[in-house]
């Protein structure tokens, strides 16, 4: 028990003037953003009946097109798997030159990380539009978009995993005269492997989510069916597509979590 003369600490500290200013600025920023985003309570209130009308016209989902939609979903998964696999493979060498203290001087790392930042900054739909122009309509453009998306994501996080490994084994091998490339292959990559496997699985989940909407811009997959469904007011088919996407994305995420637990022993 605390000494009778010891005062209990206050439960809440009075914020400083600077903290008050920070809170006020944060609130002002939120109001400014909501205004720019066209916040409208009236529209929100009126949206309920419209949403109910949509649901009544979309329910029950159409099962007539289930066969055709299933093949489109298979194509979607093929785009995601191929794009994610190539993206992960390319990410490994790129990550080696994006990680500080592994292979290359820091100035090279800065350049590579900046390029990766630019790749990540471009949305997957924008990459899909670029590749539709480059290679034409269809799933190949979608796959290339997924490759870029996965590269920007995985290479950066692989590099972070490599930078975070214990430096001890690398130092021990440096002391025996090992080259940097040998140290990277024998000490850095094996130690970073659990993190990289986890990142790759996240990359695959992200690829599956992305590939479901690439069809909106003609880059293959089930997204085109969603667009056509809404364009033709065939809401029952559109609802079928939405539910199929939800089921597949959740299933892939669950599968990723199970594999992560099995391989790495964590849910990271």
């Amino acid at each position: 028990m605390a000494d009778a003369t010891t005062r209990a600490p206050t439960r809440f500290e009075r914020p400083s003037a600077l903290a008050f200013l920070g809170y006020a600025l944060g609130a002002a920023l939120l109001v400014w953003a909501l205004d720019g985003a066209g916040w409208s309570a009236e529209k929100l209130a009126a949206s309920g009946p419209r949403l109910a009308d949509f649901m009544s016209r979309a329910w029950p989902p159409s099962i007539d097109a289930l066969g055709r939609l299933s093949w489109k979903m298979v194509e979607t998964l093929q785009i995601a798997i191929a794009g994610a696999a190539i993206g992960v493979i390319l990410s490994l060498p790129v990550a080696l030159v994006a990680a500080r203290g592994v292979l290359v001087p820091d100035w090279v790392v800065v350049i590579v990380r900046t390029v990766l930042g630019v790749i990540r900054a471009v949305p997957d739909l924008a990459w899909a539009l670029v590749f539709v122009v480059a290679v034409g309509l269809g799933p190949f453009a979608g796959m290339l978009a997924i490759v870029m998306d996965t590269l920007g994501f995985c290479a950066r996080f692989f590099a972070d995993d490599m930078e975070a490994v214990d430096k001890g084994p690398a130092e021990a091998l440096t002391a025996t005269g090992a080259r940097r490339i040998d140290i990277a292959a024998t000490a850095v990559i094996p130690a970073a492997m659990p993190g990289m496997v986890s990142t790759s699985l996240f990359g695959l989940e992200k690829a599956v989510r992305s590939s479901t909407i690439l069809g909106l811009v003609g880059a293959g997959g089930i997204g085109i069916e969603l667009k056509v469904g809404f364009d033709l007011f065939d809401y029952q088919t559109a609802m079928t597509v939405i539910l199929m996407i939800a089921v597949v994305v959740v299933a892939v995420e669950q599968l990723g979590a199970v594999i992560r637990r099995r391989i790495i022993g964590t849910d990271r």
Binding site: E171, A172, T176, G177, D182, A185, T186
Partner: protein, 260 residues
């Protein structure tokens, strides 16, 4: 130092494997960790470097191997002036050196045999030396022999993260010795082990390095170890060498002042 029937005799005329002159090291604008250090380590000698936490023992060892840059002074390792060495020349020189550290520094997810094989990376580079599965037969044989010398040939295919602390440090010793080094640094090799395992590892380590005539500089907070396994003691305190004397004339109490 020469070896006659296992009896160590300090021979002062032996050429020096390490010559340190005026060595100074500081980090940033802080006061130097140490300044103006001068000492030699004769070929085949075993030198204990002792001192309290934070006196720069590990820093000094890493400066000797060029693992961190120095701010002043010179280091001559195995007859070569460290300041004049290119990256390639450093690698060639380090192919004859090794480091055994407190944390063992094995790669946890790899096999024991692969970890030991990696000690040969100074002599052979490329994918064939990355895993025991791809390694050339002579390299595999050398790694297995190193494991036999530390008494762990049966654990060759076990993952390194499945070893006890003592086994793990034995594997680290095998990795350091597999390339038949001439100069070894051991930085608190038993600090993470219980006393019994620590005694066992120290006895094995010094039996092996003496058998092979390897020059050793090691740090330890166990002054009994320093006196038992060192031919000479360097005592680091207040940024300089307070003690540089053969162990024969020293007692445990002589080193107590370093920790005051």
């Amino acid at each position: 130092m020469s070896l006659d029937d296992g009896v160590c005799t300090v021979v002062t005329t032996a050429p020096a494997d390490l010559k340190v002159r005026g060595l100074t090291k500081s980090f940033g604008r802080a006061a130097p960790v140490f300044a103006g250090l001068d000492f030699d380590i004769a070929r085949g000698a075993s030198v204990a470097l002792v001192g309290a936490n934070g006196t720069g023992k590990s820093t000094l060892l890493r400066c000797c191997l060029g693992l961190i840059p120095v701010n002043g002074g010179t280091v001559e390792l195995l007859g070569q002036d460290a300041a004049r060495l290119s990256g390639r020349a450093w690698r060639g020189l380090r192919a004859r050196t090794g480091l055994v550290a407190q944390k063992h520094n094995l790669v946890p997810r790899l096999s024991v045999l692969s970890n030991v094989l990696h000690g040969l990376l100074g002599q052979g580079s490329g994918p064939r030396f990355w895993s025991h599965m791809l390694a050339p037969a002579p390299a595999r044989e050398a790694a297995l022999q190193a494991l036999e010398r530390v008494g762990l040939p049966d654990l060759a295919l076990r993952r390194a993260d499945g070893l006890s602390g003592g086994q793990s440090q034995r594997v680290a010793i095998a990795r350091a010795l597999v390339c038949r080094p001439r100069f070894l640094i051991a930085d608190e090799p038993t600090a993470s082990l219980d006393p019994a395992a620590g005694e066992e590892v120290m006895a094995l380590f010094f039996q092996l390095v003496r058998d092979e005539g390897v020059t050793v500089i090691f740090t330890s907070h166990n002054v009994e170890h320093a006196l038992r396994y060192g031919d000479r003691v360097l005592g680091l305190a207040n940024g300089r060498l307070e003690i540089d004397a053969p162990t024969a004339g020293l007692a445990v109490t002589d080193l107590g002042g370093l920790y005051g």
